[in-house]
Amino acid sequence: MSMREEGCAAVIDGLEKIGLDFLIHIPDSYGAPVVKHFQDHSAVRCFSVAREEEGIGIAAGLALGGKKGVLFYQDVGLGNSMVALTTFAMSYHMPMLILAIRRGGFGEFNSAVHTFSEHAIRMVESMNIKAFVLDYRVPVAQWPQAILRAHEYIHLTHRPVVVFLNLKE
């Protein structure tokens, strides 16, 4: 099984454990199997947004209404998200889980994108947003539990949390 297949299966397992109501995404080739799984899911509404900050607003509205929404997009989208994340999600204490697919890190081929993505984790942490990283350093078997714990953490801290996922080979 490839890293992409193994990683996506683990992400699906983790999200199933959460029991999410909505998956809000912007497509990514590595994360496509996760989106496909929830598009076919009878209990989850899965839809894309045009820009990531829009997703932050929607996820905040879902949280206010008591529903579980998870955001799933590339880490470059965190750049678009940062004002909404800080001035609304952080400032108003909105619990929100973001799964950010790594464009930087081992396996990244695109020189332009890693100019941003190599700094994405530090950027998030510099705004005091909690970040966890799931990559080659964490056995894939532990990813589902890590995603579940990250979801618990958003409610314990009343804040957004970003889980970075490296699904590349």
């Binding site: 109501d21 929607i58 509205g61 206010l64 209404g65 909404a84 001035t87 204490h93």
Partner: protein, 193 residues
């Protein structure tokens, strides 16, 4: 003669005393909080453009709840900043969503610099995205549009031209976390019935 923003806000607030209403940043939230502060109001003191997305999330989450409408009050500048929200709303068709854009053709909170809306028709754009639209140019027209909009399933969009400028009111200096918590507690109580 075009209405002042504060008069439009008062009308909207009176129309929705028991439904969630989310207000955009700057003078809109300040004026609303000054004249008729209510627990069902969520004042978004920054995050320009995000109201339409927040109210979309609320509408999706409260689709089966005993809430009639989830209302967002946005300005023309904010709507232009997050115009893609209209396409998402149009695609998802949240039936309880009502977005009201108070359009003074300017960034009034920052000194009145012009937006594009003297040439763009925001209602036509919303309609092309699949929202049901109404137009108003004065407070009686707004009342009429609101009365029509709550009679049918949404998503609805009311476009109201208002006079430029702001009413002089105090700044809204509350810690955002208290604004969010107060609204959240009101909503929980409201849903508990």
């Amino acid at each position: 003669m075009l209405a002042q923003r504060i008069d439009a806000l008062e009308t909207i607030s009176r129309e929705f005393p028991y439904d969630p209403v989310v207000f955009t940043c700057g003078a809109t939230s300040r004026e609303m909080a000054h004249i008729d502060r209510r627990p069902n109001h969520l004042y978004v003191v920054d995050s320009m453009g995000l109201v339409s997305s927040i109210v979309l999330g609320l509408s999706l989450s409260l689709d089966e709840a005993p809430i009639n409408r989830c209302v967002g009050v946005e300005g023309d500048g904010g709507m232009l900043m997050n115009m893609n929200a209209l396409s998402t709303i149009g695609y998802l068709q949240p039936r309880k969503l009502l977005l009201i854009v108070l359009d003074n053709e300017s960034y009034a909170s920052t000194g009145g610099q012009p937006t594009f809306t003297d040439k763009l028709d925001l209602a036509a754009i919303a309609e092309s995205c699949g929202l049901k639209t109404w137009k108003a140019e004065d407070v009686p027209g707004l009342r009429k549009a609101l009365a029509s909009a709550v009679e049918v399933d949404g998503p609805g969009f009311i476009h109201m031209k208002i006079a430029p400028g702001n009413t002089s009111v105090p700044l809204l200096l509350d810690d955002p976390v208290t604004l969010g918590y107060g609204f959240s507690m009101w909503l929980k109580t409201r849903l508990a019935g």
